[in-house]
């Protein structure tokens, strides 16, 4: 493992620390968690008691230290009301289900959705981008340009509803929503794949055109190599360096997009959990979800950096 990578891991820890601090501050800024929990009609005495139970009477720095210590150990507290029909004033804040396992339980479904969407988007974008670059300014190139522009301009939750209307309601090919076999995965993954198809195919095209215009391509042609070899083994490999960065960014966008799309398709992932947590004002659950999403983002960035060093020797030795 290179020094470069060790440095990046260290950076990631710093980022995670900053994110946790923001989560803490935001959590104290959205209002009194005790009022959020008990509702606006609660009596001042009840509020005071619950604040005490939640440790909110302690000085802010003390709360911060405890929050950070808990976060490091994976303890974000217990859920306010998730799984309970009525909040129980007596036990709220002291007992109940720990939030982190709740989030982790939902994580595989979100990852499955995001990775499937990215795999679909990546492979389609690669083919479209390469074709466009191999025949620049052709009819094919223009058609691909229109497709990718339509892709980047799409609003995903709207597209989700349209896909449900067409493929589930009208044609009956796929289930409208829920979680199960591959058939449940198709529509939400397609919904999330459309925008990255547009963005990544445009980048693949321009990166490929850039590579193919470089002098080393002439040198390879002068060696009598087949065009296929030049395009795929040389140009595409080098064009994939900028593309890798964007795929990382797009994967993050997909995870973000999943928050809404999971609700549209009733997909039991972290996204729909976060929306539920927000609408029920379940602060610990929101904190844990944001933490896990931040951790996901950091991990994706690390993986992109790792892929980078594999693709570009100049980074590896830099």
């Amino acid at each position: 493992m290179s020094r470069f990578f060790i440095r990046r891991v260290w950076h990631s820890f710093v980022v995670l620390f900053v994110v946790l601090t923001f989560v803490f501050i935001a959590g104290r800024m959205i209002g009194d968690p005790a009022i959020l929990l008990l509702g606006p009609e609660a009596s001042p005495a009840d509020i005071l008691r619950v604040r005490g139970q939640m440790g909110l009477e302690a000085p802010l720095w003390d709360q911060y230290v405890r929050f950070m210590m808990g976060a490091v150990q994976g303890d974000f507290g217990t859920t306010f009301r998730y799984g309970f029909a009525v909040p129980d004033v007596a036990t709220a804040g002291s007992t109940g289900t720990p939030v982190l396992p709740l989030v982790l339980e939902r994580l595989p479904a979100t990852y499955l959705l995001a990775v499937t969407a990215m795999a679909i988007a990546g492979s389609i974008a690669l083919v479209l981008g390469c074709l466009a670059a191999m025949y620049p300014r052709s009819v094919l190139d223009r058609a691909i340009n229109v497709i990718s522009l339509a892709g980047v301009s799409t609003v995903d939750f709207w597209l989700g509803f349209m896909l449900i209307l067409l493929f589930s309601v009208q044609l009956g090919w796929f289930p409208t929503s829920g979680f199960g076999g591959i058939s449940f995965l198709v529509l939400p993954a397609m919904t999330l794949a459309v925008r990255p198809i547009g963005r990544v195919s445009q980048l693949v095209r321009s990166a490929m055109l850039d590579e193919l215009s470089k002098p080393y391509i002439d040198a390879l042609r002068a060696k009598g190599f087949p065009e296929r070899r030049i395009v795929f083994r040389h140009a595409l490999k080098n064009a994939s360096i900028p593309v890798a960065t964007m795929v990382g960014e797009e994967l993050l966008q997909i995870v973000q997009g999943a928050i809404v799309v999971e609700v549209v398709f009733a997909w039991p992932g972290v996204g729909s959990l976060l929306v539920t947590a927000l609408s029920t004002r379940d602060l610990p659950l929101v904190e844990a979800t944001v933490f896990i999403l931040a951790l996901t983002a950091i991990t994706i960035n690390l993986i992109v950096d790792l892929v980078y060093t594999r693709l570009d020797p100049r980074v590896r030795f830099g």
Binding site: D218, A222, G224, N238, P313, R314, F317
Partner: protein
């Protein structure tokens, strides 16, 4: 100066006649090469001389069959490599010839290497594609070639990447991959222009040595008259996409006939290193999308007459093997 038999095909490895190349650009058609022809004899070095944009590199790319079309269009009356008619060869035949029988090296060695593959892979790939050898065998052959172009500790450096090499070393790697299959012809397009003078001499030495060992013919494309004079047996001077003077290098250097060649020679600093005022050629080369009807050198020529702008001077023999495309070639002297 070796005199080879002049019979058709005898001793000639490359024949080009009446080559035209034009580029379709948004600003109009650019006439880059206009009826260029030359022969290359076995084992000789032919210098193609001229300033940037005169069509020398385009000529080389056309011979290799690797002009980017579009925007390029080209036609020629003759283009033969030995017994092979390059104008009729299929794309697959051309691929089997390129890199194997006729190879090329480029001006900027660093930009001519793929930055993400090791130099060993890039040299070895020639054997993998043309000879279908194994990866291990290709690597072994690559090391041998790197030693042949005198890259120090080749065994250790074979797995390094281009950015770990200097410009001179990169050009050696380009040379190594070009000579890998023992080509009859090497097209060297400004092979030393991007390099320091000392490194330049090393590369030219390596090329000279390879020529001696293998009998490979070299087309040296350069703007450097002195480099050409040191290396080449024959020369063709190009201006605005046409050959304006051709003949034995020594004769041209001693007594240039075309006003452009005369200007090139006068713009050189003194051989003995004495300080004197240099004489650059006044003016700029013509725009290749708007070539004049007559001689393209007229606006820069101190001897130009009215006739020169009307009539394109044909190539005519002047003395011995020397030929020149100037109406007044026999009257001019190097002032």
């Amino acid at each position: 100066m070796t005199r080879e038999p002049q019979a058709q095909g005898e001793g000639r490895v490359l024949e080009v006649a009446d080559l035209w190349v034009e580029f379709a650009t948004p600003g109009g058609t650019v006439y880059a090469v206009n009826g260029v022809g030359f022969d290359l004899r076995r084992g000789e070095t032919l210098a193609i001389l001229g300033e940037s944009g005169c069509g020398k590199s385009v000529t080389a790319l056309a011979v290799m069959g690797i002009l980017r079309a579009p925007p390029a269009r080209f036609r020629a009356r003759t283009m033969r490599l030995g017994e092979v008619d390059l104008l009729r060869a299929s794309p697959a035949e051309m691929r089997s010839i390129r890199g194997a029988r006729i190879a090329m090296i480029f001006q900027d060695p660093f930009m001519s290497l793929n930055p993400t593959k090791t130099v060993g892979q890039q040299i070895g790939e020639v054997f993998r594609v043309h000879r279908g050898v194994s990866q291990a065998e290709a690597r072994r052959l690559a090391i041998g070639l790197m030693e042949r172009v005198r890259i120090p500790s080749a065994k250790r450096r074979v797995d390094d990447y281009p950015h770990q090499f200097s410009g001179g070393m990169s050009q050696r790697i380009m040379v190594a991959s070009a000579i890998a299959l023992g080509p009859e012809i090497l097209l060297a397009d400004e092979p030393t222009t991007a390099l320091d003078v000392t490194v330049q001499a090393q590369i030219m030495d390596i090329l000279a040595e390879l020529r001696r060992e293998s009998g490979m013919a070299v087309v040296l494309i350069t703007h450097d008259l002195r480099l050409a004079a040191e290396t080449a047996e024959r020369a063709a001077v190009m201006y605005a996409g046409r050959i304006v003077e051709t003949g034995p290098m020594a004769d041209i250097y001693a007594r240039p006939r075309h006003p452009y060649t005369i200007g090139l020679l006068r713009s050189l600093p003194d051989d003995e290193g004495q300080r004197r005022r240099l004489h650059p050629i006044a003016g700029t080369p013509p725009v290749l999308s708007q070539l004049p009807a007559g001689c393209a050198f007229v606006p820069r020529c101190q001897w130009a007459q009215a006739r020169c702008s009307r009539e394109l001077p044909p190539m005519r023999p002047v003395a011995g093997e020397q030929a020149c495309a100037c109406h007044f070639a026999s009257e001019l002297t190097l002032a």
